[in-house]
């Protein structure tokens, strides 16, 4: 078994020290950072994502695998920055203004990073203007909005309106998710997509960036 196949397997097991050790080994062997990321870490997370989607494994397994992915990413990130290797795409994420619930947003961010995307996490209670500013500054292709309260959902509409006013359509898509939301609500406020859960958010972002 190659070091990359072992890496993917250890990642699926949620073995963070093992993933760190194998990532170091791959770097030492001279494997390109991009190849380690794509064929080791992301390949492993893709299997984890698929197994989670088909209910073979559960959320804790995904999160343990994500921690292992981060252990590898921590070693690769400086090399990728040094070599100017681009990410698969950049996503600005946050919980809308007035809402302090961030577990759902955190889980989606973790899964997006696990799929190889760069996430600019603005945190919780984020004003609409901040989403737009961050998307422009980071040249993000996607803004992801989360809300858990019916009282804070209107903040999502404001972000969509601001994105239109700043002429971000076509460049930056706005996707929304959260317990009180629905596909109909997303359509009503003019969002580009509604994501039911973390898995559907990853699929949606992959589709937007045209990656498999």
């Amino acid at each position: 078994m190659t070091v990359l196949a072992q890496l993917a397997e250890r990642l699926q097991q949620g073995d963070a020290p093992g993933v760190a050790q194998l990532t170091r080994a791959a770097i030492t062997e001279g494997v390109e950072p991009r190849v380690i990321l794509d064929s080791g870490l992301i390949a492993g997370m893709n299997v984890v994502g698929a197994r989670f989607k088909s209910h073979e494994i559960y959320l804790p397994d995904v999160l343990l695998a994500a921690k292992a992915m981060y252990a590898g990413m921590d070693l690769l990130k400086p090399l990728m920055i040094r070599d100017g290797i681009p990410s698969r795409g950049r996503v600005v994420m946050g919980t809308v203004q007035g809402d302090m619930h961030d577990i759902g947003k955190n889980l989606v961010s973790i899964m997006l990073r696990g799929a190889g995307f760069e996430v600019v996490d603005l945190g919780k209670d984020v004003p609409p203007e901040r989403f737009i500013q961050a998307a422009i500054e980071s040249n993000a292709g996607v803004i992801g909005l989360s809300a858990l309260l019916t009282t804070t959902m209107p903040g999502m509409r404001r972000v969509v309106e601001l994105a239109r006013e700043r002429q971000l359509q076509g460049k930056t898509r706005v996707i929304v998710g959260g317990a009180p939301l629905s596909r109909e609500y997303a359509r009503d406020i003019g969002a580009d997509a509604y994501c039911f859960d973390g898995t559907s958010a990853v699929d949606c972002v992959k589709s937007i960036f045209g990656v498999s």
Binding site: I57, Y58, L63, Q97, H101, N106, L107, T151
Partner: protein
């Protein structure tokens, strides 16, 4: 007059199975690893939780004013409370440190433990609300207001057609700042792991309602079925809960 409630840890500590169910991992094949995670989260939960509660009786007329204009029109609570024999507003919280601990776990990339701790705290907040409801029942029993034909059920803003912004009126009556709970402009309670609402004590028949209100379609728990069944000792047909003539 408000009654402040302190909870022994044992009464607000969830079981590992409850944590795993909240995480969507109940009965998972890899249960050994999951169980260890849940046990670790519960141990951490017990170190950081600071559970407190308060309840305050409210008259029918007062509650009518509080509830008016704060609901989706035709609601289960709207049908039930006019038949109440006793009503009490309540709030419980697990305190701020548990939230800080959850945040710090996520920041340290300890995602699974962070999520398990969050699940434990969500379950713990519900346990605290249930325990407070039980304390209220004990109060009714002690004051001779509890009769054998009565049942008790609690309702919270944000559920069953009671709008989330109904928290404003509830807070102005209950004033749970004494136990450290405040309300944001968007009607969000701080600390986050808090529950508020009204406890209704009424003849058991008052609680029979079908889950076919317009908002029931969006409900992800349908826990009202179990709660009604519990009032009837689990013997009632939960498929048809319309009151019999």
């Amino acid at each position: 007059m408000s009654t402040r409630v302190e909870f022994p840890l044992s009464q607000v500590t969830p079981e590992p199975e409850q944590v795993l169910t909240a995480l969507g991992a109940a009965g998972a094949p890899n249960s050994g690893r999951h169980l260890r995670l849940a046990v670790e989260a519960i141990a951490l939960y017990r170190k950081r939780v600071q559970p407190l509660g308060v309840w305050n009786p409210i008259g029918l007329d007062e509650f009518e004013k509080l509830y008016a204009g704060q609901n989706a029109g035709f609601t289960p609570l709207g049908q039930i409370y006019p038949r109440a024999r006793s009503l009490a507003l309540f709030a419980v919280t697990l305190g701020e440190p548990i939230r800080d601990e959850i945040d710090s776990r996520f920041q340290a990339a300890d995602f699974a433990l962070g999520a398990a701790l969050d699940a434990a705290a969500s379950e713990g907040a519900e346990l605290a609300a249930s325990e407070l409801e039980w304390r209220y029942v004990e109060h009714l029993r002690a004051s001779g207001e509890l009769t054998t034909d009565m049942g008790v059920m609690r309702f919270s803003p944000g559920y069953c057609g009671w709008q989330t912004c109904g928290q404003r009126n509830l807070f102005s009556h209950l004033q749970p700042a004494d136990i450290g709970i405040s309300l944001s402009a968007s009607c969000l309670m701080y600390p986050l792991k808090s529950v508020s609402g009204v406890i209704v004590a009424a003849g058991r028949g008052a609680f029979l309602f079908a889950d076919d209100f317009p908002f029931c379609g969006d409900c992800q728990t349908r826990s009202c079925r179990e709660r009604i069944a519990a009032i009837f000792g689990g013997l009632h047909d939960t498929q048809d809960m319309r009151e019999q003539p």
